[in-house]
């Protein structure tokens, strides 16, 4: 077999068969995928509430500190499912490969997918591989679609926030996008910042079993914490006030942001959640996410639907939506 992807890898013939058997099935088999039926037959969990999501991954570069496109394409989709409270069960996996893409890189990516799927306890049950001519793609694009089941009694939504609720973030913000900028040499600093890409579905499941007061779980990916919370304020028709000095930002990330004129509130994360909860759920959050910080609350003040921040100086200002993209193709 050649060391690069060729057009025949996508032709449906022998080479494609070999690619799937030697490199995909060997790494991802789980009792369903290797049947290679045109559609996978799945078992329903004991619930009638199904959640489904899809996401495409076009990140550049493909490999960066703390992750790669393979890890991202599992994390992103299971984390999206978890925002509805669903326990991710099954994923589809579709590759669009560019002719000439190195097979070694593909193997590394599939290994990373296998490892992350194991970590997230999710099965990849169906897939697709297409090859496009050289120059028609950028190495590799991946699409995953996820299905999960929502336990009875769980009802998470960005419309659920109410006055008195607390706002938590499960750890420090801004690491993913900063790591990507460094990987792209857009910033030239010698730091050890790595992406926070991680599957959080099992933790969310545990949290939802521990407490009934969780109202909203949202992943602050593109647009960052500010955009996620603006959306919650708007959907829940309430005012949110954040405390700037409570928002966790790693020292390295803070330093890079200050030097490069970036605002960590708007930087993408891939392994963090914003959680809106009743104050009675605070202990449960800290138990499941020891690095969580309570960064603000929902008030009953008018006008509704806006996001404010009390700054480190004690001043109050509004936070708007992200206007100009800080960086494209970060996931």
């Amino acid at each position: 077999m050649t060391d690069n992807i060729t057009m025949t890898h996508g032709s449906g013939g022998r080479q494609m068969h070999n690619l799937i058997h030697d490199h995909l099935i060997s790494r991802l088999q789980n009792g369903i995928l290797e049947k290679l039926d045109d559609s996978a037959r799945l078992q329903n969990a004991n619930t009638d509430r199904l959640a489904m999501t899809t996401d495409s991954y076009v990140v550049s570069p493909l490999f960066f500190k703390g992750g790669d496109i393979g890890r991202l394409c599992v994390c992103g989709t299971v984390n999206d499912l978890a925002t509805s409270g669903a326990e991710a069960s099954y994923l589809s996996l579709a590759f669009i490969l560019e002719e000439g893409f190195p097979l070694d890189d593909l193997k590394k990516i599939i290994d990373s997918i296998a490892e992350t799927a194991k970590e997230a306890d999710v099965k990849i049950v169906t897939g697709d591989t297409k090859v496009v001519e050289k120059g028609k793609g950028d190495g590799i694009y991946i699409n995953t679609c996820g299905i999960g089941f929502i336990p009875d009694g769980v009802n998470l939504s960005t419309y659920n926030g109410a006055p008195g609720d607390l706002i938590a973030v499960t750890g420090s913000i801004g690491n993913h996008e900063t790591a990507l900028m460094l990987a792209r040499n857009l910033l030239k600093f010698d730091t050890s910042i790595s992406s926070d890409a991680a599957p959080l579905n099992k933790k969310i499941s545990r949290l939802l079993k521990l407490t009934k007061g969780i109202k909203t779980v949202k992943d602050p990916t593109r647009g960052g914490l500010a955009s996620a919370l603006s959306e919650i304020a708007e959907h829940s028709n309430c005012e949110i006030i954040l405390q700037e000095d409570k928002i966790p930002v790693d020292k390295d990330v803070q330093a890079v942001c200050e030097l490069a004129g970036l605002d960590p509130l708007f930087l993408a994360n891939e392994g963090k959640y914003v959680i809106v909860c009743d104050p009675s759920s605070a202990d449960a959050i800290t138990q499941v996410f020891p690095k969580a910080e309570f960064i603000g609350e929902i008030t009953d003040k008018q006008p509704k639907g806006r996001l404010l921040i009390e700054t480190v100086s004690g001043g109050l200002r509004k936070i708007g939506m992200l206007e100009t993209a800080q960086l494209p193709r970060i996931c």
Binding site: K188, D245, G261, K301, P303, R306, I309, E310, T311, V312, S313, G314, G315, L316, R317, K318, I319, G320, E323, T324
Partner: protein, 357 residues
């Protein structure tokens, strides 16, 4: 962290303005404009104090004609332009530097020299904007290019200096500025004695650092001086600024540059407010290498950037602000630069009538 908030609250209580009196303070420097907005300082001040942004955003004060000159160079096949980031987005007519592949963003002007060595068949032109803080960097890049005998490097020298612009603003007939929040970084280079000329303008000033506490302290000091009719220049950033400044940097400035007239956006030519490369280094002057006569490009119709830079109007008074002019589609430079007054007002919600509680 709470320590800072408490200290600021204490200062806040001590900033008191007699009923009916209005005090107008100008923050000269764009970094202050951003920090004031980011810290929500406006929400901490009593009714009678107005903060007005001044001319200290390098991108904002670059004239339409100078941006057109950079574009003329960018359109040449054999030229590579290097510049600081924000500059590429400033519109000139229907064009902007962003549209050209031969425009490179650099973090330090020295990167231009490496680029020149790597591309001996091209001329690398650095677009030199900025005040006394950045000008020494360009000066040392020029002396370094001279030392390394790099012949395909030059600078489009658009540097400006603060004193003449401040004098113009303070002496203009309808100036209502009562006190100045003076720039921290510029003063670190120039030294505090640089502002002695302000004594003639009978306007007090305080050299200020960039955190919320330092800014609030300076506002307190200024209001006290104004109410007591004092016109001193105080240094409230003593950890970084001394009387003499960075004498090495100032000497280097004097070796490479001489004072010249400069064209400020919306204001026009201010005599002695710019820096020109001295004859001794004229081989590094892009205007010597590429004599240009840029077409007159009209400022965008209705754009009030010039008046905003003079502190005469606030962004919401411009009909473009927040409607046809946003960070995504800026009309004028004050919305382009992250240090621009309009960008700060837009990003941090000032001018939104609902933003104050």
């Amino acid at each position: 962290m709470t320590g800072i908030k408490e200290k600021i609250r204490l200062i806040q209580k001590n900033i008191q303005i007699p009923l009916g009196k209005e005090i107008k303070l100008m923050e000269v420097c764009g970094t202050h404009t951003m920090s004031i907005a980011a810290n929500g300082i406006h929400s901490l001040l009593p009714e009678g104090i107005r903060l007005i942004s001044g001319p200290g955003c390098p991108v904002c004060v670059t004239s339409q004609k100078d941006i057109e000159s950079a574009l003329i160079l960018a359109r040449k096949d054999n030229v590579l332009i290097t510049t600081f980031g924000d500059m590429i987005r400033v519109p000139s007519g229907k064009d902007r530097l962003e549209n050209y592949k031969n425009v490179h963003i650099v973090y330090s002007p020295m990167e231009s020299l490496d680029l020149a060595m790597e591309n001996p068949e091209k001329e690398v032109v650095f677009m030199g904007v900025g005040f006394e803080t950045t000008a020494p960097l360009i000066a040392s890049t020029i002396t370094e290019a001279d030392k390394r005998k790099i012949e395909n490097f030059s600078t489009l020298c658009l540097h400006k200096t603060i004193p003449a612009a401040l004098e113009l603003i303070l002496s203009s007939k309808d100036s209502e500025i009562d006190g100045l929040i003076l720039p921290g970084h510029v003063s670190a280079v120039t030294g505090s004695a640089y502002y002695d000329f302000l004594q003639d303008q009978k306007t007090p000033g305080v050299i200020t650092g960039f955190d919320g506490l330092n800014i609030m302290e300076s506002i307190y000091l200024l209001t006290r001086m104004i109410l007591e009719s004092k016109t001193n220049i105080l240094n409230n950033y003593t950890t970084v600024v001394n009387k003499k400044g960075n004498t090495d940097a100032m000497e280097l400035l004097d070796i490479v540059f001489e004072p010249s007239d400069a064209d400020w956006r919306g204001i026009g030519v201010i005599p002695g407010s710019g820096l020109k490369i001295r004859d001794q280094y004229k081989q590094f002057d892009a205007l010597e290498k590429f004599p240009m006569d840029p077409l007159h490009i009209e400022e965008p119709k209705g754009c009030l950037c010039g008046l905003i830079l003079m502190g005469k109007v606030t962004p919401p008074e411009c009909r473009h602000f927040g409607t046809s002019c946003t960070p995504l589609r800026p009309v004028g430079p004050c919305m382009v630069s992250s240090e621009g007054t309009c960008a700060a007002w837009y990003k941090y919600g000032r001018g939104d009538k609902n933003s104050d509680r």
